[in-house]
């Protein structure tokens, strides 16, 4: 039976795929909420991500930045298990241990548009649902698209 995308949350709940240890051990990848990063008057972006209890999901699992740049993300672990946060950033990835009921802020530098992953890379948190995406909107600057001179045509 086919289902419309709009019914996804309801169907996941009905089948038991929105909580760990119901129909499966964890969350289906690519499900969960979506949130927008906020841009302050200083141009700096801020976002919040949380791990709710017993769901093995980032909330939101998709965090959208309006453009490339630096962002401060506050991450909270409200689960009763220890996790961590592993995130991409120019220079080196960032990593943060997230004991039970912990909270911390990580700063990322993501300079171009696209989809960037983040995860909890301990145990198999990643395969069980704690894999998310940071989406940077926008486009590459015009000069980045002028990488080839006009090509001769036969």
């Amino acid at each position: 039976m086919a289902t419309a995308a709009g019914d996804l949350s309801a169907v996941l709940s009905e089948i038991g795929l929105d909580k760990q240890n119901k129909a499966t051990l964890g969350r289906v990848l690519g499900t969960g909420g979506i949130g927008r990063a906020e841009e302050g008057p200083d141009g700096r972006m801020r976002g919040q991500v949380r791990i709710p209890p017993d769901e093995l999901v980032w909330d939101p699992s998709i965090l959208v930045m309006p453009h490339g740049g630096e962002i401060d993300i506050e991450i909270t672990n409200d689960d009763s298990n220890t996790h961590c946060a592993h995130l991409p950033s120019n220079g080196d990835n960032k990593w943060m241990w997230l004991p039970v009921y912990s909270r911390g802020t990580v700063t990322l530098d993501l300079d171009g548009p696209g989809y960037y992953w983040f995860s909890s890379n301990i145990g198999n948190d990643e395969g069980r649902g704690l894999t998310g995406a940071i989406v940077v909107l926008g486009d590459t600057p015009p000069e980045a698209r002028l990488d080839r001179p006009d090509q001769p045509r036969p």
Partner: protein
């Protein structure tokens, strides 16, 4: 109200045995020195070894008589984590550069390493964040870095040039877009 433990972020490489710094070997790598790169065959200053592209080295310690006795001196291994573009098509395809005992080599997905050429120790690592939806013509690969005037240069999959400080691997200035020359980069962002 929940009392939260304070979590503190670290650089991912801080969790490894990476040394974190390297000698300033590229400080004196000038254009003239690269033009005459073959005269210092103990180094490999540019992609083909020299601008004529012949990949010829004047070193003669290894010859047809003793080449059969070559054994591995060290092996550099690296394992990435997380998602990346082209997970089935990534590889090492770079020609490592060597400058006075330090090897600079790039890998897939924005990785660059400085390695002690004598023992294989990883001196520093640089990672440019690359979106996993980046379009790839062929695979997630990089053909190598360039060195000059105190910097290590790497082109990334997102069409930027990063200028790395060879002592630490940290980026200096704003990444330069593909094919832009120094004149297109705001001088305030320059450190080379």
């Amino acid at each position: 109200m929940t009392e939260y433990v304070e979590a503190r972020p670290v650089k991912f490489s801080d969790l490894s045995a990476i040394v974190g710094n390297a000698p300033a070997v590229t400080e004196n790598v000038t254009y003239d020195r690269i033009l005459d790169a073959r005269s210092e065959s103990q180094n490999w200053l540019t992609y083909y070894g020299a601008y004529d592209g012949k990949r010829f080295s004047q070193l003669d310690q290894i010859n047809t008589d003793n080449v059969k006795r070559l054994t591995p001196a060290w092996v550099f291994q690296f394992g990435a984590s997380g998602l990346h573009a082209g997970p089935s098509t990534y590889a090492f395809e770079a020609a490592p550069l060597v400058v006075d005992g330090v090897m600079f080599v790039s890998g897939w997905d924005g990785w660059v390493w400085a390695i002690d050429a004598k023992n294989g120790d990883n001196l520093w690592v640089y990672k440019h964040a690359i979106p996993f939806d980046t379009s790839l013509c062929c695979g997630n690969v990089n053909r190598g870095v360039a060195v000059a005037q105190g910097k290590v240069f790497v082109a990334t999959l997102t069409l930027t040039w990063s200028r790395l400080t060879p002592q630490t691997g940290s980026a200096s200035g704003t990444p330069c877009m593909a094919m832009c020359g120094p004149a297109k980069v705001p001088r305030s962002h320059h450190s080379w």
